[in-house]
């Protein structure tokens, strides 16, 4: 048998995990369509409810509180980041549980592949998927509703890419908890709802009580949403929002480190107690 080692082996494993994830998405196109459609539907709902509440002054009231009259772009940016966070937590966090349910987790863990490589491979698929979500959801909406901001989309996309790193960290953390506690779906639902509420998906976080804003400050989506709104709607640049990007970079370092450490700890514990094969 021919064996390869070093970076070639790592690249080979990453490529295999990446394509496995992509195949999964292409095999269930309905689920992917739902990911693309949901941000629009949620935005429509908020928009409709808002029009009802505010009547003819809805846009003016909205502008007073947010500084923009472009309601759809404002809301779709929040919606898209929320959905992207949802995809990452579900994919990276729940992937191992899926393997467990299919009975393939042991084979995966017995393969001569580093656990970190395994998790990074799952994340690579999500980079491709979330990029597509960005193009279809944010890109198309901005081109239609605010064509002047088209060139700002590249900067907004860079913010998203940086924001994905701490999100993967949260995914790693969640993957560890799933190995230990099982039943991940209800936890992902609560977690994603909490993320939506705390990170200002449809409103500025300043609307939340002060102590809640403190929690919001620890979540990467808060910065991604706010920065993307600043770039697309207020014509800010990456340079002018450097403070926020710095915080995002710190989170990009902290979350994966912390998430992977917890994952390793729980994985080690699970291997001792035999949790892998328990459902």
């Amino acid at each position: 048998m021919r064996t390869i080692s070093g970076y070639k082996a790592t690249v080979g494993a990453l490529t295999a995990i990446f394509w496995k994830g992509m195949k999964h998405y292409t095999r269930y196109p309905g689920s992917f369509v739902l990911i693309l459609v949901m941000p629009f539907l949620f935005t429509l709902m908020i928009f409709g409810m808002g029009q009802f509440v505010g009547g003819s002054n809805a846009s003016a009231n909205f502008a007073t509180r947010t500084g923009t009259t472009n309601i759809l772009v404002y809301e779709i940016l929040g919606s898209a980041v929320w959905m992207i966070g949802w995809v990452v937590v579900e994919d990276v966090g729940v992937a191992l549980r899926d393997e467990q349910m299919k009975g393939t987790l042991e084979q995966n863990f017995l393969a001569p592949v580093n656990r970190f490589t395994l998790l990074i491979g799952l994340s690579l698929t999500d980079i491709a998927i979330t990029s597509l979500v960005f193009v279809v959801v944010v890109g198309v909406t901005t081109i239609i509703m605010l064509p002047a901001a088209f060139l700002n989309l590249l900067q907004a996309f860079l913010i998203l890419l940086v924001g994905l790193i701490p999100l993967f960290g949260i995914g790693f953390l969640f993957a560890g908890f799933v190995l230990k506690f099982k039943e991940p779906y209800i936890f992902t639902q609560i977690l994603n709802l909490l993320f939506a509420t705390l990170t200002g998906t449809y409103y500025p976080v300043t609307l939340l009580p002060y102590w809640v804003q403190f929690l919001s400050g620890a979540l990467p989506q808060t910065y991604v949403i706010e920065d993307m709104r600043q770039i697309v709607l207020a014509n800010q640049t990456l340079v002018s929002i450097y403070g926020s990007i710095f915080v995002l970079l710190v989170l990009a370092l902290a979350y994966p480190t912390f998430g992977y450490a917890i994952f390793k700890y729980l994985e080690k514990k699970a291997s001792v107690t035999g949790e892998f094969s328990k459902y």
Partner: protein, 278 residues
């Protein structure tokens, strides 16, 4: 118990009780789901309510005195919970049994399929009522006001029409699970369509005219409208009596179509041998 020798009523009660208890046992076996449901359901409501405050003149609870203020959205939340029960509760009964590998046993019992599915619906209706009650209390405690019913008798009648229509709709969906693979995607899209197009969260008068006609051919638009009218005295889409007559007719038709559709799909699936394979 030998159900062959009992009266139809006793048989129905026994089957219903067994189906209800079976589902209740499955439900309490997963406490994380229970706790999660009680946390996440009200959280959806508060999340959307916060989003809407951006559009409000001063505060959400003080706006829209004629439309019921916060109570308007509260009922939207109730509709969403109830519709979800029809969609995933009744509709997914067959799929759940399929996934658990017990569908054949389920279909081979000398019990009515309809009663078994209704038993599951009853369990979910009970849980829904608990969640709605708990959220009402939570809303009151955080200062959102207390939800009161303008005409309780009319409310029960309107809710009855809604539930009849919903059960019929759920049965049709339960049948579809035997035919289609991408049930989850379709049910999610239908669910979102319900939220946007039936006046559940905002009146259909907000929707631009060409799309509003689409809303007006969906039966749930009238069910939602009448429940809200009975609870909050909001104006109805059509004249009151006419809308009640239409809603009553629609609910009976939906129930009949649901039962007939489910039976027909089941018979076809039996002939094709696809009951447990979709």
């Amino acid at each position: 118990m030998n159900s062959q020798n009992t009266s139809p009523l006793l048989r129905f009660v026994a089957e219903f009780r067994a189906a209800f208890m079976k589902d209740l046992r499955s439900y309490v076996r997963y406490p994380a789901w229970m706790v999660g449901e009680f946390i996440s359901t009200p959280l959806w409501f508060f999340f959307f309510a916060l989003g809407v405050t951006l559009f409000a003149p001063t505060s959400l609870s003080s706006s829209l005195p004629q439309e019921g203020g916060m109570s308007f959205f509260f009922f939207g939340f109730v509709f969403i919970i109830l519709f979800g029960t029809g969609m995933w509760g009744i509709g997914q009964t067959v799929r759940n049994e399929q996934m658990a590998g017990t569908l054949e046993q389920f279909f081979l019992t000398p019990a009515s399929r309809v009663t078994l599915i209704i038993g599951r619906w009853a369990r979910m209706f009970l849980t829904d009522a608990l969640i709605i009650g708990y959220t009402t209390l939570l809303l009151y405690l955080i200062g959102g006001g207390f939800v009161t019913l303008n005409d309780p008798a009319l409310f029960v009648f309107s809710l009855g029409l809604y539930e009849l229509g919903l059960i019929g709709f759920g049965f049709l969906f339960a049948g579809l699970t035997m035919r289609i693979r991408s049930y989850n995607t379709i049910s999610n899209l239908v669910f979102f369509g319900y939220m946007v197009l039936t006046g559940a969260l905002f009146p259909i008068s907000v929707i631009p005219v060409p799309f509003r006609y689409l809303c007006m051919i969906i039966p749930f638009t009238y069910f939602n409208d009448l429940v809200r009218h009975a609870a909050l005295a909001t104006p109805t889409i059509l004249s009151g009596a006419l809308e009640y007559a239409i809603a009553a007719l629609l609910s009976v038709c939906m129930l009949a179509i649901g039962f007939v559709g489910f039976k027909k799909i089941e018979d076809e699936a039996r002939m094709r041998g696809t009951i447990a394979t979709s």
